[in-house]
């Protein structure tokens, strides 16, 4: 079982109820804007507490209301690529990339620093401050940072937004490789039918 999610989530005035189990290596989460996709990723990462239910990823229980389990985010080890990127403004690109690495002693690496720099084409940006990056550059660095933190699963919130077609294609291939070579459950939020068709073994629609 990759993902076993059964939660009720209160955001603002609304309650989002979502229940899905997926054995696929890559699961897509789709639905119209504002339906609650990001909120669900937040809940899985441990940044938003569901009112009730449970969350199990790769056979590990991250949250279980009845049993009182609620792992803090740092022990869930999600590789979360935020929709709003959230680079650390006070650290250069290299230090942003290294941030998760430093907290990942003894954890299983899924990719090397060199591969990240090469595949995401960010080698020339290492010395730069995040404030000087373009939209696409920012997103690529955010993806690299998450991959380097030795995650046990990935949460990708529209990772290909604002990437040019060539770079998007390269990233798609990287995701495929991670999906096929590693035992690393991936939950992908995307608005692109194309992306979803190509990558996902299972599609969850939130409505």
């Amino acid at each position: 079982m990759s993902f076993d999610v059964d939660i009720a989530l209160d955001v603002g005035e609304r309650r989002i109820v979502l229940r899905f189990r997926s054995d696929a290596r890559l699961t897509a989460l789709v639905g119209p804007s504002g339906v609650g996709k990001t909120s669900v990723l937040d809940a899985i990462a441990g940044l938003r507490r569901p009112a009730t239910g449970h969350i199990t990823v790769a056979h590990e229980t991250l949250f279980d209301a009845p049993r009182g389990v609620d792992l803090p985010p740092e022990r869930r080890r999600s590789g979360y690529v935020f929709q709003d990127t959230r680079l650390f403004p006070h650290r250069r690109v290299a230090a942003n990339l290294a941030y998760g690495e430093r907290h990942a002693h003894g954890e299983r690496r899924i990719i090397s620093y060199e591969d990240v720099a090469r595949l995401l084409d960010i080698g020339h940006l290492l010395d730069r401050w995040p404030a000087t990056l373009s939209g696409g550059e920012t997103r690529r660095v955010a993806i690299g940072r998450a991959l380097l933190s030795a995650p046990r699963f990935l949460l990708l919130d529209e990772p290909l937004a604002s990437l040019d077609p060539a770079r998007a294609e390269r990233l798609l291939r990287l995701i495929e490789r991670l999906r096929d070579e590693l035992d690393l459950p991936i939950l992908l939020v995307s608005h692109s039918a194309n992306e979803v068709d190509r990558l996902a073994g299972h599609v969850v629609t939130l409505a």
């Binding site: 740092e74 650290r91 401050w129 404030a131």
Partner: protein, 236 residues
Amino acid sequence: MGWLTPAEWTVIALSLKVSVVAVLVTMPVAYALAWVIARRRFPGRMLLDAAIHLPLVLPPVVTGWLLLLLLGRGGVIGAWLYDRFGITFVFEWTGAAIAAGVMALPLMVRAMRLSIEAVDRRLVEAARTLGASPWRAFATVTLPLSVPGVAAGAMLGFARSLGEFGATITFASNIAGQTRTLPLAIYTGLQVPGSEAAVARLAVMAIVLSLGALLASEWLVRRSVHRSSQGRAHVL
């Protein structure tokens, strides 16, 4: 520099020592208080906040007097400190540093709190997902991002310490070489008619010192923040 007398140099050295120590010792306390007030909600929070502001609203002489009641040899804590450890603050430069630190505290807390509140919590969340414990996330995200407040607080605190008079003379008294800081020396000078020139010299020294502190704090902020500021703002 033949411009100042040796006694005046002593006063300046003492003032620097007292202010630097006061700021360095108060800084972590102030930051912890600022963090608690900015980020925690608990009963009594407003009371704590009000208590921190006390040295600001009370006349300094009263603060000095309260310190005397608390930390003087006959004071509640002071008697114990003296009996147990032989520690005494009255007549000691450490007493002047305590007075300066207490008076500087509210200014430091406020500046730090402003910067802590301005730190985007989404960045702290991001740090947590990257494996950082709450403590590490604090040390690597909240703390460095609040450097502008820390620098402003240190600067305000240092300036206030340099200028502190009422609490110091009341709590630590006015002994040359021990507790006669710049303001006390200036006061002492003002008690003697015709010593305007000496007073002016000391006042200029106070200004020079604070200018130095100002430059240092600007440098600290620029070094750690400006290059990484929020976004690309160009022409405007």
